[in-house]
Every structure is written in structure tokens, then in C-alpha cells.
Symmetry: C2
Subunit: 456 residues, 2 copies
């Protein structure tokens, strides 16, 4: 009797000790978390809100009356409280350049990319060295360019901006003459990113004016007036690796390399321009963080850009810089391999699918991008541009945007926005998988309906 | 024998069960944290780095070779690996407006102000409603103004900017005429915040020019030219509740209310200007986050400011907006009571101490600020300005900045920077406690050394 009871006690003891050990292992070092616990719990709770794979809830999302957590924010054409409703008649969004194709990558890397910000983090205007530029972040950016081989950084200066947007106008200011009787001419090659013109015109400076397409200035004999040429490589909208068109002692280039990453293009060689602009938006996909950087050869230009950025915004948010650092650490952990393989694979597949549909059409065509040797992947890689530059081939389809709207229920972006013919439309391929799938589906429909379309 | 052994087993079992219960309670809901754990642990480890109370380590601080964590970043005049070394000969920094007086508040509110950002948080350029302005944050800002009673928000529009810095120039652009033959005159009342002039001149727009002090334009009969008057209330540098000086159909005001919070001034009534600018920097002390907002009466002006902010930076970093929301939630949790009592008490004490020293001096004097009834605290509150506006009274002390440097080893900011006489110096009172203590100590020294100084 006593023996049986004793045996029971031993059994209970063993169970309890196993539980002790389980707790010790399960809990790990975590049981000593203190002030960070609430924030961590809150973030995990929001991330766990089910949105059917067609949306996600955010920490700062709308909280409806009666709800405990924020609402699901659904992808285009999805709705309902958990984004499970699909609206088949809704227009496919191929308009904006939201780089959500990388969102799944970050969801897969939740642990390494999460960031806990203390309430007292970096309250100062400046870092310890009195600059507004995080030296740790700058070091990581230089390291990334070295590894990817897409830009020369040695001996160059680096400034940070609120995305490439702010840096583009900072560069124009820095390269323009001061109080000259002839303001600088700002030009770009059609088709080009419209912000170049919008910024230059809106800020109405006495020091520069937008003067349209580079072709007007090719045989220009006036070498007294400074010319600032935007060179976008790969180009937005058509993905071509553009080079400078104008040359001469009075010509300066601003290289917009937003898309010069292995996601979107082969990297033939490190870019080497005097002023080169990059952005986190098209590297990690974090457009919302508004973080970009410029690599500058000349010290004087660097100083002028820095002055612009200081007077404009007193530098870039320390919160964005901290976030960028965290994300770049994840990118660098595998020498960029994981994110660039993910990015390139996603974009290449999308481009192939798009081409497959369009190749059966007589009505539409796409730009041609020749595969090139990529020094980063060390092999020839298929094209994977960020945008399709679609052309309506029929004589009467002068307004390709309207054609796509009416016949396919697709919203692209008009060619005229890029100063090209409206026979062209830009189709964004970097949005969410839902957006791309819908675009492809609607394109399939309209192409299949073509009279005499080639059968697939 | 068996009985004793059985008793031992029971004792062990009880201990083990107690340990399990301890684990359950200690760990609480935390043991089911997953992907957020690493980030939380990392942040707590950095926060635990000991910097002797004269500095702090940051997540994105420099990591020296051989060190595991980032280095301590020390307050001015402190150094060494743990900031424990004091350099008594070092100059007291009363120069910049770094609002670190609020840092201890956030350290005391570590749990409620911590923020965990998921890797995929807000990658889009815009929020769900296609704007670049978080509706949740806007709602909290409006609520805060309602509670504090420092600004009318009903029926007004709100835009966000990268601190007040970006909003100041956005407002000038928005209020200037387009392509008019006579550009707007931008003016302010001396002494004024120099950024008004620096921005206006640097951006060299055809639409506006800086035209100095308001007094020149008081009796101006030219009503065809638009005038934009900066009204800073409380004023930087002298803390006065300025009102508009110029009036007329061609005069528009930009109200810079950066310091219109109970920390720095009594709140006599809600501000009601057409364009009012606020910033997180001087409310929560997070200057590094570069977040500010404008409250605008007129829809057209609102649209123009929005266009500026969009073309300039595509709106404000979503990371800054998320951080601002978190901080405002802490502020609002007690209806502002905790932070404003902390802020006002800190600033009032500093002002009193400064006055006590200066009142014994014949050589220096300070601006007078009359206590006013504060509708927020519902009582008359003593003055608590952000800056001392110090005057050197001796005829020969024309360069008060140099006098303070040479005789007291204090670095202030020259009066001429604010377009006033160099007989004045601005002393920043909003910096860290270390900076203020050092300033006071050095002032005490120089005043005590005055010939015939009144004894305290």
C-alpha cells in the first residue's frame, strides 16, 4: 500500500520535473523580458489577425467600434472583414509602383526583420557625431553595394533622403548654378519618370527650368548654359539600361538607379556616375519608410545636397534609418542571396507569364529586354523588369489606357504621363501577387477574345 | 525507511510544483511569443548597457571591434566607455534645441512607449485610403488639441510633414501666388527663428522672397504684393506669445506653434490661425523622428501644401507616423497630465534656477515672461520658456556670445543669428539635465566672480 503510494509520488515527481524542464526550454531566455513584453505581444496579436491571405492588419490600422484589434486592409478587389470576399468585376490595378511583391519575403523573415523601438530611441536631431546620417547604416549601404557590385562607393560621399523623391530635387538644386543669368536646363529622355518634370516645375526656382526631352539638346551649341540630364537606369517605365545622351563640359548627369538591383535587371558592372540615387523602396520594398540615398563623387556637390536636405527636412527620420538598418542586416546576412533570388524569381516569372499572354496577341506588344550576364548571379539571367511597357498596335487604339480600361477592366498608367504616346501604357508588375494574378487574368480574357488571335 | 523516502519524494514534488506555478505566473502570457522575441531581447539588452546615467546606448549605435553591443553615447562633457568620466573644462552646451529634457519621461514609461515593428509593416507608399496620412494618427492629434485646448481643429484640414521644418516651406509655397509678376514678401518679427529666412532664400523661388523684419512693412501702402508673415508663438528665441504685426487683405500668416504646449507656456486660449504648424519635437521631445503637422482652414491652401509635400517627399515616413501614434497614445492615456506636468515642472524649475543666478548679476539680464492663467492646468502657472534670451548689459560686452565663451565657457547661440543684436545670446534650457546643470554651474561661476555682484 505504502509502496504503491510512493510509486505514485515518484511518477508525479517525474512528470512535474519534466514540466519544469519543458518550461525552462520553452521559455528560454525570454522569461526575463520586461518592458518590451507589451509591445511584442501587441505586435504578434495584430499579425495573427486572419485576413485570408488577401490582406493584412497593421498596428496603426483603423479600430472599429466594438472591435478589439485593427481591421484587415485588403488587397485590391478583395473585401469583407477578413478579406475573403472577391469582387470579380473590380478593375485590376496595374497602376502604381507599390513594391508589394516583396511583402511575402518579409513575412517569411518575421523574426530577423522585427524591430523593437524603445520610447527614448534617438530623440536628438542628430547622431553622436552631430550629423543626421547614421554611420552604421552608411556602412551597411556601402557593404551592400560592394557585395552586389552595382555601384562604386570608394572615396564617394553618401547622403540620405526621404526616398529618392527628395534626393532627385536635392540633386537638381546642388547641380544648378547660383544666381546665374541663365538657369540650368533640366532634361530627360522620353519616356521618363514624370516626377522629374513635376518637381522641377513646381518648385519654380530661379536657378533651373525643365526643358523636356534630351533630343532637343543633342546638337545644341550653347555651352554656357548648364544642362542637367536625368539618366534612369533601368528606365522607368520601359526597363532599359539607359546611358547619358548629352555630353559636354556643361552637362551634368543625375543617375536614377532606383531599379538597379538584381530583382529587376542583370548587373553588368558597378555604376560609376558622379551623382547616383538609390532607394529602399525598390530594394527591400519598403516604400512607406521613405528612405533613399545618393552616392556623390564631388565634395562640393555633396555639401550642397546636404545643405538642401538640412534646410528642407533636417535630414531623414531616425526611425526610418533604424528600420532601414534592420532590413539591410537581413539582406546582408546571406550576402543578398535570399532576397535577390526571391525578387528576381518573382519578377522573372511574372514577366514570362505576361509575355506568354501578349505573344498570342496581335493587338498588344511589349518592350524587348535582352538577357544579359549578371555579375552578381554570375550567369546570364532572364529579363525581369518592374514594368511592362505595353503598346496598342491597332491603328485606331490611340488611347491604349482607355482601351485597357474598356475592354479588359485594367487600370494601367497612360503613356502621356511619361511624355510618350498614349498608344503606350505602363503596367506595374511589382505589386502584390493578387494584383498581378488579376492583371494576368484580365489580359488573358481580352487577348483570348481577339479576332484571329494566335492560339496559345 | 520507505516512509522517509516517500516523504522526500513528496517534498521534491511540492518543490517542483511550486517551481511550475512560479514559471506559469512569471512567464504569464509571454511564453507564447514567437517571432517578436529576438527583437525584444535585443532591445532590452541594449537598454541594459550601463552608461552611468550620463548617456545611453542605442540599437543602431556604433559597435566597436570585440564588443558585443553598441557603445555608450555620452552627454556633453562626459566620456569613457560607460560615460562615467566628467570633463570639467569642457564647454557647457546651451546651443542647440535638442529637447532631451523629456528623455527621462520616456525612460520612466518604457513599457507603454515601446513599439514593435514587423518587417512587413506598411510597405506601401500610401495607407488604405490612398492618402499618405494615417487617419488613426490624425484622430489622435485632433483629440490631443481638444484636450489641451491649444488649437481649434474642427472643420480644419490636417497635413503631416517631416518636422515643422518641411511644413514651414510647404506653407510659404502654398501661400505664394503662382507666376505673379510680384513675388510674395516673406517677413517675420525680430528676433526670429533663422530657418524662415534660410529656407526662403535657399530655395530661390520665383514666387517669394525673404524681406526681413515686419516693421519695414507696417506702413506699406502697396497692397498688390502678397505678404506672408511668420508669427511664432511662443517665440523662438524669447518665449513671448507673439501675435501678427501686419494686417490687410494682402497679408497671410503662418503661425509657428512649435512651443505652444503646457511645457513651455500657459495656454490662454485655443490658437485659431489660418495656417498653424506644430511638431512632435517640442511636444514629446522626439526631434529625431522628424514629424510635424499643420492645421489649415482653407481647402485650397491645404491642397497646395499637400501637393508640395507629395512632390517633395511623397509624404512622411510611415515609421515616424507609427512611432508618433504610439507616443501620443501614452500622452493621451492620462489626458496629457503626466507628460505636461513633467515637462512644465522641469522647465519651470530650470527657469527659476536660471533667474535666481542672473538676478544676482549686474552684467547679464533675462527676458521677462509674465505668468498667465493656463486653461489646461486651470490655474496661473509660472513661466517655463524653452530658451533664456540673455542680454549682456555692460556697454563693452557687445558680443555676448564671445563673452560667455571666454568668461564662462558656455556655448550659446548668437543674437545675430536671430537677426537681433549680438548683445543677446539664446541659452537652450530644453537639453539634457547634464547640459542644464553644467550651464547653471558655469553661470554661477561667472556671476559670482562679478565685481560688486549682489550676494545671493
Amino acid at each position: 500500500m505504502i509502496k504503491t503510494r510512493s510509486l505514485k509520488h515518484v511518477l508525479c515527481l517525474v512528470c512535474s520535473i519534466i514540466l519544469n524542464i519543458f518550461f525552462l526550454f520553452k521559455v528560454g531566455g525570454e522569461w526575463n523580458l520586461s518592458w518590451s513584453k507589451t509591445a511584442a505581444t501587441e505586435a504578434e496579436a495584430v499579425a495573427a489577425i486572419p485576413c485570408s491571405g488577401h490582406g493584412r492588419a497593421y498596428l496603426d490600422g483603423l479600430v472599429l467600434d466594438g472591435n478589439k484589434g485593427p481591421v484587415c486592409e485588403c488587397n485590391t478587389c478583395y473585401g469583407g472583414p477578413d478579406c475573403s470576399q472577391f469582387f470579380p468585376d473590380c478593375s485590376a490595378n496595374a497602376n502604381g509602383g507599390d513594391p508589394l511583391f516583396l511583402e511575402p519575403f518579409w513575412m517569411q523573415h518575421a523574426a530577423s526583420s522585427a524591430l523593437l523601438v524603445a520610447g527614448w530611441h534617438r530623440m536628438s536631431y542628430s547622431y553622436d557625431d552631430q550629423s543626421t546620417i547614421s554611420k552604421e547604416l552608411e556602412r551597411h549601404i556601402r557593404k551592400l553595394h560592394d557585395i552586389v557590385g552595382n555601384a562604386a562607393t570608394e572615396g564617394r560621399y553618401v547622403v540620405f533622403g526621404a526616398g529618392s523623391t527628395q534626393l532627385l530635387s536635392a540633386a537638381v538644386y546642388a547641380l544648378s548654378p547660383d544666381n546665374s543669368s541663365s538657369p540650368a536646363r533640366v532634361v530627360a529622355s522620353i519616356p521618363f519618370y514624370p516626377v522629374y518634370e513635376m518637381q522641377t516645375d513646381f518648385f519654380q526656382s530661379v536657378d533651373f527650368h525643365f526643358q523636356g526631352d534630351t533630343s532637343f539638346w543633342k546638337n545644341n551649341s550653347d555651352t554656357d548654359t548648364e544642362i542637367i540630364e536625368f539618366v534612369t537606369s533601368p528606365n522607368n517605365p520601359d526597363g532599359q539600361l539607359n546611358t547619358a545622351v548629352l555630353h559636354g563640359p556643361n552637362v551634368k548627369e543625375i543617375y536614377d538607379h532606383a531599379y538597379y538591383w538584381p530583382h529587376f535587371t542583370a548587373i553588368p558592372a558597378p555604376a560609376d556616375g558622379d551623382v547616383m540615387i538609390f532607394t529602399l523602396s525598390k530594394l527591400t520594398g519598403h516604400a512607406g519608410s521613405r528612405f533613399g540615398w545618393a552616392i556623390i563623387k564631388d565634395k562640393d556637390i555633396y555639401q550642397r545636397m546636404l545643405t538642401y536636405l538640412t534646410l528642407n527636412t533636417l535630414g531623414v527620420s531616425k526611425d526610418s534609418q533604424l528600420r532601414a538598418l534592420k532590413l539591410l542586416k537581413v539582406v546582408l546576412a546571406t550576402g543578398g542571396r535570399e532576397i535577390f533570388e526571391f525578387g528576381h524569381e518573382t519578377m522573372r516569372k511574372r514577366w514570362e507569364k505576361l509575355n506568354k499572354v501578349i505573344s498570342t496577341s496581335k493587338r498588344f506588344s511589349l518592350q524587348k529586354i535582352t538577357p544579359k550576364y549578371c555579375t552578381y548571379f554570375q550567369q546570364i539571367r532572364g529579363a525581369s523588369p518592374a514594368y511592362g511597357w505595353l503598346k496598342c498596335e491597332n491603328q485606331e487604339d490611340k488611347h491604349c489606357y482607355a482601351v485597357l480600361q474598356a475592354d479588359a477592366n485594367i487600370t494601367g498608367r497612360q503613356g502621356s504621363i511619361f511624355f510618350a504616346e498614349d498608344r503606350y501604357v505602363r503596367l506595374s508588375l511589382i505589386r502584390s501577387q493578387d494584383d498581378f494574378d488579376l492583371l494576368l487574368d484580365k489580359l488573358n480574357g481580352v487577348v483570348a477574345g481577339e479576332e484571329g488571335a494566335r492560339t496559345m
